[in-house]
C-alpha cells in the first residue's frame, strides 16, 4: 500500500456509543479552532486586498470591507506584472526540461541496472538535500564565465535560472520517475525486448505510455518548487526587470513607500498560481512531498 492510498479514509467499523458523544464535540471544536488558525492569514490577505485605499487602516485590519474594491490588487498587479511574466517564462521551460531529464534518468536507473548504480544513486540524491549556499559562489562565477568566454548570457537572465533549476532538479525528478518505473514489471520490459525492441523502443512503446502519473507528480513538484524559489533568483538576477515574482514581492514588502495593503495583495497574487495548482491537483502535490521523504 502506498502512502497516498493509505491516506484515504478507512471504512467505518467502530460503532459510536453515546458515551463518547461529548468527545465528538471536542473533536470538531478542536478541528475548527485549528482550521481558523491555518486560514487566518488568508482571511487577512483577502479582506484587506478587497478594501478601497480610503478604507484601509492598520487598526481595522480584521474588519470586513464596507464596500468591495479591487484597487489594491490592481496596484499590486501593475507593479508585479513583469515579474509574474518572468516567473512564467522561468517555470514552464524548467518544468518541461526537468521532467524530460528525470524521466530518461529514471528509466535507465530502474530498468538498465549497471555496475556502480547502487553507489551512483545515493550520490545523485544527496544533491537534493544540500544547502544551495554551498554551491552559490562557484555557480555565479560559472554563469559569469559562460557569458564572457562562451558568449552565452546566463548570469542575470531567466535562461540562466532555467539551467540552474533543471540541473538542481535532477535528483528529485530522477528519484520520482525511478521509483515509479520500478513498479513496471520487469517481465513486461523483457517481453518487449524479446519482441526485438531496444533501449529506445522499450522507452517509447512501453515506459512512456505508462508515465502519466509520475509525470503529473513531477510537473506539479517542479512548478511549485521553481515558482516559490528565492535564493537562486535573488542571487542570479539582479536587474529588477529580470527578476521572478518572489524577488519582486520581497522588494515590494521591503519598500517604505508601498502601502501595506498593496503588499498583501501582491503576496496573494504571488501565491495564487501554486495555490490553484494545490486546490485542483492537491493529491498529486502530496505525493511529490512524500517523495521528498524518499518514498514513492
Amino acid at each position: 500500500m502506498t502512502l497516498a492510498e493509505a491516506a484515504l479514509p478507512r471504512p467505518a467499523t467502530r460503532t459510536v456509543t453515546p458515551r463518547v458523544r461529548w468527545g465528538r464535540v471536542l473533536v470538531y471544536g478542536a478541528l475548527l479552532l485549528f482550521a481558523a488558525f491555518y486560514l487566518m492569514p488568508v482571511y487577512v490577505l483577502v479582506v484587506n486586498g478587497l478594501k478601497s485605499f480610503r478604507e484601509v487602516s492598520l487598526s481595522r485590519m480584521w474588519a470586513l470591507p464596507a464596500d468591495l474594491s479591487v484597487d489594491s490588487f490592481a496596484a499590486a498587479y501593475a507593479r508585479l506584472r513583469p515579474n509574474v511574466l518572468n516567473s512564467v517564462r522561468l517555470v514552464v521551460p524548467a518544468t518541461v526540461l526537468a521532467a524530460v531529464v528525470g524521466s530518461l534518468n529514471g528509466y535507465v536507473l530502474a530498468h538498465w541496472k549497471f555496475r556502480g548504480a547502487d553507489l551512483l544513486f545515493p550520490l545523485l540524491l544527496f544533491g537534493m538535500f544540500i544547502p544551495y549556499q554551498s554551491v552559490l559562489i562557484p555557480l555565479v562565477q560559472f554563469l559569469q564565465w559562460a557569458g564572457q568566454t562562451l558568449g552565452v548570457q546566463l548570469y542575470g537572465t531567466i535562461a540562466g535560472l532555467v539551467l540552474v533549476h533543471v540541473v538542481y532538479g535532477i535528483p528529485i525528478t530522477t528519484l520520482i520517475f525511478r521509483n515509479y518505473y520500478a513498479t513496471i514489471p520487469a517481465d513486461l520490459v523483457e517481453a518487449a525486448r524479446i519482441d526485438g525492441a531496444g533501449f529506445a523502443g522499450i522507452y517509447r512503446h512501453v515506459v512512456l505510455p505508462l508515465s502519466a502519473p509520475a509525470l503529473v507528480v513531477v510537473a506539479i513538484w517542479e512548478f511549485t518548487a521553481v515558482w516559490n524559489e528565492f535564493l537562486f533568483a535573488v542571487t542570479i538576477t539582479s536587474h529588477p526587470a529580470r527578476q521572478p515574482v518572489t524577488v519582486a514581492l520581497q522588494n515590494l514588502a521591503g519598500s517604505q513607500i508601498v502601502e501595506w495593503n498593496v503588499q498583501m495583495a501582491g503576496a496573494l497574487l504571488a501565491a495564487l498560481p501554486t495555490l490553484l495548482v494545490y486546490i485542483f491537483l492537491g493529491r498529486f502535490f502530496l505525493r511529490g512531498l512524500l517523495a521528498g521523504a524518499l518514498k514513492g
Partner: protein, 292 residues
Amino acid sequence: MSRARDRLPAVLVLAPSVLAVGVFVYGFIGWTAYVSLSGWTSFVPDLSFVGLRNYAELFRTFRFQADLRNTVVFTLSFLAACLVLGFLLAVLLDQRVRGEAVFRNVFLFPMSISFIVTGVVWQWLLNPSTGINLLLDHVGLGALRSPWYTEPRIAIFSVVLAATWQLSGFTMAMYLAGLRGIPEELLEAARVDGASEWALYRYVVVPLLAPVTLSAVIVLGHISLKIFDLVFAMTGSGPAFSTDVPGVFMFETTFRGNRFAEGAAIAIVMLLLVAVLIVPYLWFTTRQEART
C-alpha cells in the same frame, strides 16, 4: 538476447546528468570549500591559501555564535511543534470526522506557498501594534499580547510560529497515512485486552509510527537547518541578531559584503550540519532498498 548493444544508449542518456551533478554539486562544493580556505575578502578574487583562518574568525564572531544558537533553538522547537501538532491533527482527523478532506486541505495548503509570501504575511500578523495583538484585543484576550519579533528573547519563536503554520500540515499528512496503515485488528486486540485509549496510543500507536517520525525529522530537520527565505522576508537578522541564521549571514556576507571567503566558510558549516543528518539516512535507506 544481447543486452550489451543497448548498454551504450543507457549510459549515454545518463551521462549528461551524472556529469552535471558531478560538476554543479560536487565540483562546486569542492570549489566553495577551497574558497573558504582562501584570502578572498574583497570584490577582487584572491585565492591565496590561508588555511582555517576564516573558520577560526567565524566561530569567534558574535553574529555567527548567535546564528548557531538560533539554528539549534529554531530546529528543536520547530520540529517539536510540527511533530506534536501534526500528530494531534492526524489523530483528530482519524476519528471518522465529517468533511475530513476539507480539513485536510485546510491544514496542508500553506505548503504550496512560497516562504517569501509566508514571511511577508506573518510579518504583518506578528507586528506588535496590529495583527494578532489587535485580534486578541478584539476578543478580550488583550492580556495575551506579545512583543513577538521585536523582543530579542522571544523573536526566534515568531519565526518558528510562521514556519510551523507553513509545514505542520506535512507531518499531519505523514502521520495520517501512518495511522491508516495500522491494521484495525491490532487496535481491536489491544482494546479487548482492556487497554485504555490513552495506553493504546502511548504503547501501540506511537511506537508503530516511529518510522514516520524519523522521516518527518529528516525532511523538516534539513529544511530548518538551511532555512533562509522565511527569515529573510519576515524579520531579517532581527534585534541583536536574535533571528539571524547562517543562511542569512552567508547571503549578506557574500553578496552584500563581498567577503567571499567568509561566506564560503559559513556555507561549508551549513553543509556539514545538513550532511550529519542526511548522509546516514541516505546510506541506510538505499542500503535497505538494495537488500530487498
